[in-house]
Amino acid sequence: MSKKAKDEILDKLKAAPQTDVPPRPTVPPLNELAWNREERIEKLAENLTLLGCAVHRARDAEETVNKMTEIARAEGLTKIIASEDDVVATLNLAEWGKSNNIEVFTPRDGHDREAFKRIVFEEVQAGVTGVDFAVAESGTLCLIHDERQPRLVSLAPIRHIAIVPVERIHPIYESVTDTLFENREKAPSHITFISGPSMTADIQGSLFKGMHGPKTVTVILVEQTAT
């Protein structure tokens, strides 16, 4: 059925009279491309704040973990899940959890999809992830999803805490997608752009946060990450 439908549809489209493809106008390069490193960091922080994210700065891994302790105390966190991406891996959160009395789950604790989903949907109060890129133009965090970075860690818990190494901040989306899709065969199967908390204005136009995803997004910008 499908094969025939395809041929029929494409044949009809191809039989239609051809018209010229209109030329593309030249547009000036986006202003964001002129931003230097410091401006990119400032603009990212500014845009994140406008979106309603809490933004913290840290010099290194140690300060990052200290910030996490402050956040966990302020929010009363006792159970969290952390991705195993390359940014989070530098923080040794298992150790941090032990000394702060916080249970830190990893995606591996969910042996299968069902066990994992039970943790992210029912157990934890926050999900901690690194980011693969951040985009200054709109305060966007970019996550590449794979076995170390499951999709639901940054989505199902009511709080998302994102660790952003400043050297991963890019000016515009294309600086990220041009790299990721340079070779289609190596492109990631799933990419997410996260810009602020989940929200809606569907009832009477009243804006509220935490519709289905996180209600709060806390971002820690890290100057130096351990290598």
Binding site: L13, A15, P17, L30, F121, E137, H145, E147, Y173
Partner: protein
């Protein structure tokens, strides 16, 4: 979804009386327009950015067959399974089969206008599946059984009291509340359980990137991400015009879509699927099906005059700009698509005969066309449809005018083709028209022109025409008979 476009006039009259419809339309329009202006201002040259968007969409549609083949090739290479469907029934049957083969019981949906178009929910529910719309607005109108009020805010106009009663009745919450945040929270808790246990995801598609075989979804609530992340099977339905040539094009269109839709620089979540997960992940779909739906579009693609309406990216800016939509809201349009974008699309999908009022409910202010980031000339389409309808063009199911009107127009044309006939006609018509004069104005007439006078009047005809008077004056001043 039942099509009710024939009732445009009746529903519009009712909606004009509804205070809730009016107040929300007034406020939302102003608010988003301001946000839109600010966000478009981040482009170094906003009008050039708009022009680029229009060129990208024009190219996408002119190169449609080639781009669809490229998209299918790359999506398949990424591991997705691409199906094609000629019409709504074929698409619905296909999706039902995918669900039944996998013993799916619970389906969650991301908001998609295309499945509103095909009436997919009804088919799945009739066959014993549990289907939940998960966008808050769609969730509410699914429970109410109403069409969307607006393509982005389907339930914007529903009063909180009604939502409260609805949620109590359907067991979504136990304690009544009129706080929109509490109502939203009740929906979150209810749907969270569905996201946890869902067997199959159904979503729409905002952009399909030919170059990379990627589908892109744009949203604010997180319901599409949850829908796509939790179950093993994902079905994403796209109409064939969703394709864009390259990822760079998609990023530019993304900027324009968000700015024109809600005035945001970007929506909270943009998620991009290039195939299913790789098999080692603990979440995300193990299998990804992409359904490419035609549903009549390839037929009107033949006509270069109307092809451009396929450029639409569903941002909804035309509705915000439309003075008619701004007063009557989305219900009178009677289908999934409302406002100017619905007025250009619905007549082609449903036929000109059933949609008479849609292409006539226009002031020709051109607001939609001026704002459209996809480069659609809506008013010009309305004129085209009117002409096709008058001619009774069978391709578009035109109604053709009654013989009385066409013979009147025939005589009128004949009269206007010669000056002497026109002048004679004018002379004959004047006393006839002036019979209806009251206090210097013609306020109404019986017969076929009765409707015209409903909201208008006409000054009485002067005894002599301007030309007559000029002639008389000319002959008086020069003492010579003037040339006529």
């Amino acid at each position: 979804m039942k099509v009710k476009s024939e009732q445009f006039r009746e529903v519009a009259i009712e909606e004009l009386k509804t205070r809730h419809t009016r107040s929300h339309l007034d406020v939302i329009g102003l608010f988003i327009s301001e946000m839109r202006r600010a966000s478009m201002g981040t482009f170094p040259d906003p009008s050039a950015a708009l022009e680029l968007g229009r060129a990208i969409r024009a190219e996408s549609i002119e190169r449609l067959p080639e781009l669809l083949e490229e998209f299918e090739r790359n999506a398949t290479a990424n591991g997705a399974v691409v199906h094609w469907a000629r019409d709504a029934d074929e698409a619905n049957a296909l999706i039902l089969r995918i669900a039944q083969e996998r013993n799916v019981r619970l389906v969650t949906k991301g908001k998609s206008m295309v499945t509103e178009e095909t009436g997919l929910n009804d088919v799945l529910i009739e066959n014993g599946l549990e289907v939940f719309e998960t966008d808050l607005g769609e969730f509410i109108i699914q429970l109410l059984g109403r069409p969307p009020f607006h393509i982005q805010g389907p339930a914007l106009n529903i009063p909180v009291q009604e939502i409260c009663d609805l949620f109590m009745e359907k067991g979504i919450m136990n304690e009544p509340t009129l706080d929109p945040v509490e109502l939203g929270h009740a929906a979150r808790v209810f749907l969270r359980n569905k996201f946890h246990h869902v067997d199959m995801a159904i979503t729409g598609v905002n952009f399909a990137v030919a170059q990379t075989g990627t589908i892109i979804n744009v949203e604010n609530e997180g319901n599409i991400r949850l829908t796509k992340s939790s179950p093993r099977t994902q079905v994403s339905v796209m109409t064939l015009e969703k394709v864009v040539p390259t990822m760079q094009d998609a990023m530019h269109m993304l900027r324009l879509l968000c700015r024109n839709c809600t005035g945001q620089k970007i929506a909270s979540y943009v998620s991009m699927d290039s195939g299913p997960n790789k098999g080692r992940e603990v979440d995300g779909p193990r299998e990804l099906f992409i359904v490419i739906l035609d549903n009549g579009r390839s037929s009107f693609y033949r006509d270069p005059e109307v092809r451009e309406i396929l450029r639409c990216i569903r941002c909804g800016v035309c509705m915000l700009e439309c003075p008619v939509y701004g007063k009557i809201g989305g219900y009178p349009y009677g289908w999934a698509y409302s406002g100017p974008m619905g007025q250009v699309l619905n007549p082609l999908m449903l036929g000109l005969e059933r949609t008479q009022d849609l292409y006539r409910a226009c002031t020709f202010c051109g607001g939609c066309k001026t704002a459209c980031p996809a480069g659609i000339d809506h008013p010009q389409k309305f004129l085209y449809y009117r002409a096709k309808d008058v001619e009774g063009d069978p391709r578009y199911k035109g109604k053709r005018r009654p013989w009385t009107e066409s013979s009147f127009m025939g005589i009128f044309t004949w009269v206007t083709k010669r000056r002497w006939r026109w002048n004679l006609g004018i002379k004959a018509a004047r006393p006839f028209l002036n019979r209806h004069v009251e206090q210097g104005f013609i306020r109404g007439m019986k017969g076929p022109v009765e409707g015209w006078f409903k909201s208008r009047d006409f000054p009485a005809m002067a005894e002599k025409t301007f030309h007559d008077r000029m002639q008389e004056r000319g002959s008086r001043e020069s003492g010579e008979p003037s040339r006529s």
